[in-house]
Structure formats: structure tokens, C-alpha cells
């Protein structure tokens, strides 16, 4: 807003405007957080009340305090942490491997124009294939253990990573490549000095997508074959008709998936600083 009177000293003016702005910012931030809290509490509160007053079928929907109680007692007796640890381990490994292998695949394809042309239709088919349906095949190939679960995570992430990263390789301004070619750089040097460093931001932002995919992979993998993990807890919860356990597991998954996503977002921010 324009201020009415003329301020003689510009420094005072700048300070005043800055202060006003900061105040407004803080007010807005507070408002946002308050509204978020209201939404959250309203939702949780409504669920709790609906559960306690039996407006909803508690058997199917459970309610927050019940879920928290269950999680708390499981946490205290030490039976929850191994499950979290297992799933987290599978997810993180699958995530890292998926990103790594996808990037390596992209490098391989990039290294040869003719290879790219040859592989193109195969990649398209593999990419549009619902990898989830392949689950049992992994069991056949890799046995009923961690390997199958991690393979599922890998299968889901690797092709899409390769495609996105390859695309980023190809989108690099050819003039950057010219710069090193002028100095006589060969393909390997061009890659190491230009293509790879220039693609780091894309690779990191692919990570963000891969976080979600890696969780899908490990949970689905645990549905197929497992004796521990959050996916196991979910399917076991169904088996023994304990939906409180199912909801609790979903809650933990949501927390850790969000944490992992935020960690990647933080890395991205650092890299783009």
C-alpha cells in the first residue's frame, strides 16, 4: 500500500517497509499453520468422535486414540521397531539401487545413439508394464526373502528413472558440450565434465518421485512374501481382522515416507542453493 506522508530518510522508509513485510509474513505463516492444525484436529477429532459414538463401524475404521494406543504399546514392548526397520531398510536399499541402476542404464543408453534407437521400443513396453503383476515371478527368480522385495522396488523405479535421466542428458544445451569439445574432450570426458554435473538437479528431482515408488515397491513386495515389515503388518492385520493395526501401519508409513521425501527435498534445496 502507498504510504500517505513523505518520509525524508529513505533508510527509515526501507526499514519500516521491511518490518511491515516481515510482520505480514509472520502473520500469514501463523495463519497457515493454525488452519492446518484446525484441519488436522477437525479431521482427527471427527474420526475419534465418530468412532467412539459408533457413527462408523469401529471394526473397519478404528479411531485415532485406539490406533495410537496400539502403536504406543507395540513401541514399548519393542515389537514395532523391527517391522519399521525392515521396511525402511528394504525401501531405502531399493530406492538407492533403483536410482543408481536407472542412472547407470541411462548412461549406457546415452553412450550410443544406435543403442538408444534399438532399445527404445523395449523401454516403452517395459515402462508401461504394471510391474506389480510381476511379483510372483520375482519369487520364482529370487526366492521368498528380502531379495524379492527389493527387486520389486527396483523394478518399479529403474525404468522410469532411466527414461527421465536419459531425457535430461539429451536436453543439455549443446553449447556446453561444444565448450569442452573445442578443447578436444572425448565422449567420456564430455560426460564427466558436462553431462553428469549438469544433470545432477534432474537426477535429484527424480529421487523425489522415486521415494513414493520405492514405498509402493516395498509394501507390495511385503504383501507377496514376508515375515516382518509394515507391509506384513498390514496384510497380517487384514488376516486377523485387526484394522487398528492396518491403520497404524499406514500411519507409520505415511510418516516415514514424508520424512524420506523431505530429506530428498532438502538435498535438492542444498544442491540448487
Amino acid at each position: 500500500m502507498s504510504l500517505k506522508h513523505k518520509d525524508s530518510d529513505p533508510n527509515t522508509l526501507v526499514k519500516k517497509i521491511r518490518l511491515n513485510f516481515t510482520k505480514k509474513q509472520i502473520r500469514e505463516k501463523r495463519l497457515v499453520i493454525v488452519i492446518q492444525m484446525i484441519i488436522l484436529f477437525f479431521f482427527i477429532g471427527l474420526w475419534e468422535i465418530a468412532g467412539r459414538l459408533r457413527w462408523i463401524d469401529v471394526l473397519l475404521f478404528s479411531y485415532p486414540s485406539k490406533i495410537m494406543n496400539l502403536l504406543y504399546s507395540k513401541l514399548m514392548d519393542g515389537s514395532l521397531l523391527p517391522h519399521i526397520g525392515t521396511t525402511l531398510f528394504e525401501t531405502v536399499i531399493g530406492f538407492i539401487l533403483g536410482t543408481l541402476c536407472g542412472t547407470l542404464l541411462a548412461i549406457l543408453i546415452w553412450s550410443s545413439k544406435i543403442l538408444e534407437k534399438i532399445l527404445d521400443p523395449f523401454l516403452v513396453v517395459l515402462n508401461s508394464m504394471p510391474k506389480i503383476a510381476l511379483g510372483p515371478l520375482f519369487i520364482v527368480g529370487l526366492g521368498a526373502g528380502y531379495l524379492s522385495i527389493i527387486a520389486m522396488t527396483l523394478a518399479i523405479t529403474v525404468i522410469i528413472t532411466a527414461l527421465v535421466v536419459l531425457n535430461s542428458f539429451k536436453e543439455i544445451d549443446s553449447n556446453y558440450i561444444k565448450v569442452v569439445k573445442i578443447f578436444g574432450a572425448n565422449k567420456r570426458e564430455t560426460f564427466m565434465k558436462v553431462i553428469l554435473p549438469a544433470s545432477i538437479p534432474t537426477i535429484v528431482s527424480t529421487l523425489k518421485v522415486n521415494v513414493g515408488l520405492a514405498w509402493i515397491g516395498s509394501i507390495v513386495g511385503e504383501f507377496l512374501v514376508s515375515q516382518q515389515g509394515l507391509g506384513y503388518l498390514i496384510i497380517y492385520g487384514f488376516q486377523v481382522f485387526n484394522f487398528t493395526l492396518v491403520m497404524g501401519s499406514l500411519f507409520i508409513i505415511a510418516i516415514f515416507a514424508t520424512l524420506m521425501y523431505q530429506a530428498v527435498a532438502y538435498i535438492e534445496l542444498k544442491l540448487n542453493k
Binding site: S79, A144, V225, Q239, L245
Partner: protein
């Protein structure tokens, strides 16, 4: 053959985690396998298909799963057939649950109702339809049969209002009864008669090479079967409780009692010829079997017989 002091590791895959398999958990928790010098690693490979796949792919050594899967595998032309060597449960494990409380139940009541059945091709569905047909009900014409829902979700679908009747496993049936969501009015276990419902099986080649271990395994199972037969409900509950942390103790007891009373837990590991033929009848009735698979080929009762002898 192994020396007596050495422990042999056996990888076992169970089709699901259920109180229906109580003797198995008893054998584990009471150390019967250890007594035989076995180290048993138990994995849950959710679903018959995955269990059998894992067995065929050598992911596990022994599978606890319905005998029908071994017949399917045989029917598809296996070179190394899967042999049933020890029976754990001998009846179907599901119950008929109604939404409304029914004073005196008559199977005729199912006619014209909406029935939430198990998914096609599985043993529960075949046993269920077998029982219905036995009572003169044509499941596909006399009632509205819903059988498109995956096993783990049938209970939720019923609880959220689908169907008048539902075919449910434990502990869901008991939980529903307790919560008033449904009422157990009949047992498919009783109706279907004795079947090789859940059986330990292994590849023919594995059995040949590990005769000793299989025998020890069968011995431990049989010991557990006897233990379950003779112990009190409370003792059994305490023995299997570590495997069912998330079920009410009270419900565990009700379920154990219900299964034991209707004779679901097999008394011995033998897969009888009659039972086998009954299974074949059920499968043929369901249209899933092309030719009868002979008991001679797919069942080896020698381990069970030795186990019974050794316990006497």
C-alpha cells in the same frame, strides 16, 4: 542322513497365519522341532499360489498349503511333482455367517439371498459350493453369488453392508459374532466332511534327498497334534499366543475350541484315500479338475505312519 547332534535347517512356508494351524505353532513354541534336531524357519507366503510358487522355485523346502495346489501343479504337468506327506487340518475352516440373527437355520433360507463367497479357484470356494450343492442349492442360480472379492477383503465388504450371508474364516467369524456384525450359523468344515485341507508338502526330489529330515518333521508335527488333542484350551492359547499378538486372548480361545470341537485339527498326519477322493469330488464339482489325480502319486503316507509308530 544327518548325525543326531547336528541341527538341520528347514525352510517352511505357510499359506497364511491362522489359528487354524494351531498345532504348527505349538510344535514351534514347545520346541518339538528342536527336540528332533530341526531348525525350522517359518515364512508366511500369503496365498496358495505364492506358497506353491515359492516351493517350486526352491525358496522354501516345505509348504503348508491346501492339497488342491499340488493337484493343480500335477495337472499342469510337473516333472518333479509335489508330494503331500503330512496333514495338519482335515476340514474346511470357514463358517457361514448371517447378517441377521436366525433362530433355527435351514439351508433353504439361502435361496434368494445375497451370498458373499470366496474367490474362484481356491479351496474355500470349492468347499463352500460343495456344501451348498449338498444341501440342494445351486449357488449360481438359486442366489445372488458375489465372488469377486479378494480373500483379505471379504470381511470388510460384508461389514460395510454387502450381502446377507458370508463365508468367513476365523478369527473374523468370532469377532463379528462378538461385535454383533454377524452370526455364525453353520460350519463349512462340518458340511464339507474330511478333506486334506491343509497339508505339508514338498517336492518329490527334496523328499528323496532329505528322507530323514522329513521324517523328523512329521514326527514333531504329530507330537504337536497329540498335544493339542490332550491339552486344555488355555494351555494351547498360551502356546500359540506369541504368533497372534494382535488378537484378543478370549477370541483365540473361542476359535481354538470351535475348531477342535468340529474336528478340524487332524488327529494324525495321514492323508487318507477317502479324504483324497472327497477332495477330488469337490474339485470336479467345481469344474477345476480335468482328470482325477491318483492318491498313489501325490501322497506319501509312509512318514505319517512311521511317526504314529514312533509315538506309540
Amino acid at each position: 542322513g544327518n548325525d543326531d547332534d547336528e541341527t538341520t535347517t528347514l525352510r517352511v512356508g505357510e499359506v497364511t497365519r491362522s489359528i487354524f494351524y494351531a498345532p504348527q505353532y505349538v510344535a514351534l513354541s514347545q520346541g518339538f522341532f528342536e527336540d528332533e534336531g530341526l531348525d525350522v524357519e517359518l515364512t508366511t507366503t500369503w496365498g496358495g499360489d505364492k506358497t506353491m510358487t515359492t516351493l517350486l522355485a526352491d525358496g522354501i523346502d516345505i509348504a503348508l498349503v491346501g492339497s488342491e495346489t499340488s493337484i493343480y501343479v500335477y495337472q499342469q504337468g510337473a516333472d518333479d511333482p509335489v508330494i503331500n506327506f503330512a496333514q495338519l487340518t482335515q476340514t474346511d475352516g470357514s463358517f457361514l455367517v448371517s447378517r441377521e440373527a436366525i433362530g433355527s437355520f435351514d439351508w433353504e433360507m439361502l435361496k434368494g439371498s445375497t451370498f458373499l463367497g470366496q474367490r474362484k479357484g481356491g479351496m474355500p470356494q470349492m468347499a463352500g459350493e460343495f456344501a451348498l450343492k449338498k444341501h440342494g442349492i445351486d449357488p449360481h442360480n438359486d442366489m445372488e453369488l458375489i465372488q469377486n472379492i479378494e480373500f483379505a477383503n471379504i470381511a470388510s465388504a460384508f461389514a460395510s453392508g454387502t450381502g446377507d450371508f458370508v463365508q468367513l474364516f476365523e478369527p473374523t467369524a468370532t469377532v463379528f459374532e462378538k461385535e454383533g456384525t454377524g452370526h455364525v450359523i453353520a460350519s463349512f468344515g462340518i458340511e464339507s466332511g474330511h478333506l486334506p485341507y491343509t497339508v505339508y508338502m514338498s517336492k518329490s526330489s527334496f523328499i528323496t534327498e532329505n528322507n530323514d529330515s522329513i521324517q523328523k518333521y512329521t514326527n514333531a508335527i504329530h507330537r504337536a497334534q497329540k498335544w493339542v488333542e490332550t491339552s486344555s484350551i488355555g494351555e494351547i492359547k498360551d502356546a500359540i499366543k506369541p504368533y497372534f499378538e494382535d488378537i484378543d486372548e478370549e477370541i483365540i480361545e473361542i476359535v481354538i475350541d470351535r475348531y477342535r470341537v468340529q474336528g478340524s485339527y487332524a488327529a494324525d498326519p495321514i492323508v487318507d484315500v477317502d479324504e483324497w477322493n472327497n477332495l477330488l469330488d469337490v474339485m470336479i464339482e467345481a469344474g477345476e479338475l480335468e482328470e482325477r489325480a491318483s492318491h498313489d502319486i501325490l501322497v506319501d503316507n509312509s512318514f505319517a505312519e512311521n511317526a504314529i509308530k514312533s509315538l506309540e
